[in-house]
């Protein structure tokens, strides 16, 4: 009897604790968003991850914003002008924007942010996302002039992204900026950040939305927002089911069942700018020969592969920069992208001297997660059908980036290396980073391509620039240097509780919480 009582006393204790405590750990009017990982820093100059960018977009403002199609629109800056040579931009700021500490956000804050980004003592990790700015000058509290070293037309789309978040100059005096404190002017105000666990925000009651893609012109409707880290996909799914979490990325394998059950809404972000593509180690055989690269491109049926692994969650992409990014034109790119044609692939392989007994061998490097390893296996099978022997190697993104560069620097041997690379950017200027000498991965470069890419940076007329960007597409596609596969590719699917209304995701995967109302 004693034992019986003891056991039941423990159970009752647990139950009492359960009922007494708050399961969600969130206030009644808080939105809870679970993600697989945490931010690296609250300081927009100290990190580069998508996870960090998404959070900065909630707590900071940017001079410009983007519309639903990804085009830059006014936000904190209500208008701008540039000189004829495209080396000076003057921005006129909206009045009434206030920082979270109550001070007005003005031209001094813009200058402070830019000066900090270009501080030679402690250079920003995201300096490149400001373009070649040489100085920022305060003309008056609501006017700021940026001077560039060289003309750079991508400055405007650059200023619409959270990489270019405006930091209020009052952060200068705040101890622990980036780790414990951060003063922005965005719709959500930082309460606390427990690294690895959660970020707690409260709404900014003073918020004024001039151009961000939210219907709400002012402060968010809900009181707070908690961004919590739940690394295990099944645990995120469980938390969504119990209501502990309102929004999270679901496990891919369960998406069909979730849709069928109707218990949760599935939202897919559009115009993410994410581009998943083949690229090759081009400084050694076999991929130093264009025909070998084309053989891979013709052997790849991206549409069938992504349909098998992601269903309708992702779509094939024809251009080297994805939908929503300036210059993207599916029909134009389809003309030059090597189409799925296994017979053509076999012909090219035979021409190169490969056969069943002497197959083209290559490593196939894939970034772990997001079911990409499964997709890699489908591509491996497709390549095997034409006689290409690809051995898959799965690694984290950091290792993949380093490995691709190593493979490009290795000029010895005859075993090839190709990889399923993933990049996201809001302007075709990404092609300059990837393929202009020396190239982000020290891969393919040529004087001809350099000249085209140089021009994409200086042409101020949108039509002329578009034509030049598409010339770069044509070059990359017809030479099978950058073979686009699909878009989007990572962190783009959201499962949402049914009581959550008006959740939407802006281009380049920036979730918007200002419009959300949670029904009882």
């Amino acid at each position: 009897m004693q034992k019986f009582l003891g056991k039941h006393a423990i159970c009752a204790g647990i139950l009492a604790l359960s009922l007494g405590g708050s399961v969600a750990g969130a206030g009644a009017k808080d939105i809870v968003w679970a993600r697989y990982g945490d931010i690296d820093s609250l300081d927009p100059h100290r990190a580069t991850s998508t996870l960090s960018l998404q959070v900065w977009s909630l707590m900071y403002d940017t001079l410009l914003a983007v519309d639903a199609d990804g085009h830059p629109v006014p936000h904190v800056a209500k208008s701008w002008t540039s000189n004829d040579t495209g080396t000076e931009y003057t921005f006129s700021l909206n009045e009434g924007v206030t920082c979270h500490d109550g001070t007005p956000l003005d031209a001094n804050d813009v200058k402070y942010t830019i000066d900090t980004a270009f501080d030679s003592e402690k250079p920003s990790l995201t300096k490149g996302s400001w373009g070649p700015i040489s100085s920022a000058e305060v003309i008056d509290p609501l006017t700021v002039k940026l001077t560039l070293e060289t003309p750079f037309v991508a400055l405007i789309p650059f200023l619409a992204d959270s990489f270019s978040s405006i930091i209020c100059d009052s952060n200068e005096d705040a101890a622990g900026f980036g780790t414990d404190t951060a003063i922005g002017s965005g719709p959500w105000k930082l309460v606390s950040w427990t690294k690895g666990d959660k970020i707690v925000f409260e709404k900014n009651p003073e918020y004024k939305n001039f151009g961000k893609l939210a219907e709400n012109p002012g402060a968010p409707y809900m009181d707070g927002l908690i961004i919590t880290t739940v690394p295990e996909p099944q645990a995120r799914f469980a938390a969504l089911k119990t209501g502990e979490v309102h929004i999270a990325e679901p496990p891919f394998d369960d998406v069909a069942a979730i849709r069928e059950s109707g218990d949760l809404q599935i939202m897919v972000a559009e115009n993410t700018g994410q581009n998943v593509f083949w690229e090759f180690a081009v400084h050694r055989p076999p991929f130093n020969d264009k025909r070998a690269r084309l053989a891979v491109a013709h052997a790849t049926d991206a549409a069938a592969a992504i349909n098998l692994i992601y269903g309708d969650l992702s779509i094939p992409e024809n251009c080297p920069v994805s939908r929503g990014v300036f210059g993207n034109d599916q029909d134009f790119c389809a003309e030059y992208r090597p189409a799925y044609d296994p017979e053509k692939s076999k012909e090219l392989l035979a021409e190169l001297g490969y056969s069943e007994s002497n197959p083209l061998e290559t490593a196939l490097l894939v970034w772990t997660g997001g079911n990409r390893q499964k997709l890699g296996e489908v591509f491996q099978a497709q390549l095997a059908e034409v006689g290409i022997k690809a051995s898959i190697e799965i690694m984290d993104i950091g290792s993949l980036n380093a490995r691709v560069r190593q493979e490009n620097e290795n000029t010895e041997g005859t075993t090839g290396s190709m990889d399923m690379m993933t990049w996201s950017w809001y302007d075709p200027d990404i092609l300059y980073a990837l393929w202009h000498t020396p190239g982000a991965y020290r891969g393919y470069t040529s004087p001809e391509l350099d000249a085209i890419l140089d021009e994409t940076r200086v042409l101020t007329d949108p039509e002329a620039r578009k034509a030049k960007v598409q010339e770069a597409f044509k070059y990359l596609l017809s030479n099978a240097i950058h073979v686009p596969l699909y878009t989007p590719g990572w962190e783009w699917v959201f499962a949402v509780r049914p009581e959550v209304k008006n959740f939407h995701v802006a281009p380049f995967v920036y979730p918007i919480f200002s419009d959300i109302k949670i029904e009882d």
Partner: protein
């Protein structure tokens, strides 16, 4: 007793000293340029910035100089800054270490409270159906991966019954990860307790005590349990280290914000200062716990402290 403890402390310091050497070498064990790998995801990083990082980590110096610098910083309580985010590593670790310790201690308590009585009972009922059933269950428990058990408990108690939260850092959030970690370790304790007790039960002094007519319960409590606990206390030290390691998986499943999860993230992100700090902290905790248990061990069994003096 004092010289026994002094001996243990010396061994502990030696272990930590060796760990500091390994931690310094760690960064050189990775093929390729570690700084390039660290910054592989940051295309905006200039060669000058990478050179700065190389200097700040002392990678431009010889390995002995690097070691001296590392020890110098360590003595000042400086474990460096994280690569991603630039925060002091010591702060990041100290923020999370208590969570892992709480989890490991709670799991240890569950393992002992469940494992020891089961093992004791199985030994007492040696050869019966009780014994066989309990030991088969224990083997099943040992074989069960934390990952699988964790998800089962999560879906049953949090989703189906709704009794406990899925993730987070509150007191209630501790229940499921501690149970996951504790249950499989309870099985280990059950098997160890059983074999230890069977050993003691067959000893002459136990048989004599029973033959003298002492009540069986008294013999079991006063003679058998005390003698049989010694190997179990030794095991506790080892198991604690295993639990700190096992916490890596369990913390991930239950989003428990401990050093194990931090280490996994750091490994994926190649954040060497955190990895180094984690290994060192882990070594210090394990050494400290071992010394504590050795002291308890010596206190329970006077033969041990005598043999050391």
């Amino acid at each position: 007793m004092l010289s026994f403890l002094a001996g243990r402390l010396t061994m502990g310091f030696l272990t930590i000293f060796v760990t500091t050497i390994l931690v310094t070498l760690l960064i050189h064990l990775v093929p390729g340029d570690p700084v390039q790998i660290m910054y592989a995801q940051s295309q905006g990083t200039t060669p000058e910035q990478m050179e700065e990082v190389r200097k700040s980590l002392g990678l431009d110096k010889s390995i002995p100089v690097q070691y001296a610098m590392f020890i110098g910083r360590l003595l000042e309580g400086d474990l460096g800054n994280t690569i991603r985010g630039g925060q002091p590593v010591l702060d990041v670790i100290l923020q999370r270490l208590p969570n892992t310790l709480v989890l490991a201690v709670a799991a240890m308590a569950i393992a002992i409270l469940i494992g020891v009585p089961i093992g004791f009972f199985a030994a007492y009922k040696q050869g019966t159906i009780w014994d066989v059933t309990l030991m088969i269950t224990a083997i099943a428990g040992i074989s069960m991966p934390h990952f699988w058990l964790g998800l089962i408990l999560l879906f049953y108690f949090a989703v189906d019954l709704g009794w406990l939260p899925v993730s987070g850092g509150g007191p209630l959030n501790l229940v499921l990860p501690a149970l996951t970690l504790g249950l499989s370790n309870a099985a280990i304790f059950a098997r160890l307790t059983r074999s230890s007790m069977i050993d003691v039960l067959s000893q002459d002094f136990v048989q004599t005590a029973i033959a003298k007519g002492l009540p069986k319960k008294l013999v079991l409590r006063r003679h058998v349990l005390r003698a049989g606990l010694i190997p179990i206390i030794t095991m506790m030290g080892l198991q604690f280290a295993f639990m700190m390691g096992g916490a890596i998986v369990v913390e991930n499943i239950f989003s428990w914000n401990g050093v194990g999860r931090m280490a996994v993230e750091a490994i994926f992100q190649r954040d060497y200062p955190i990895i180094q700090g984690f290994i060192l902290t882990f070594a210090v905790v394990v050494v400290f716990v071992s010394i504590m248990l050795d002291a308890v061990y010596a206190f329970i069994d006077p033969r041990i402290r005598r043999s050391q003096t």
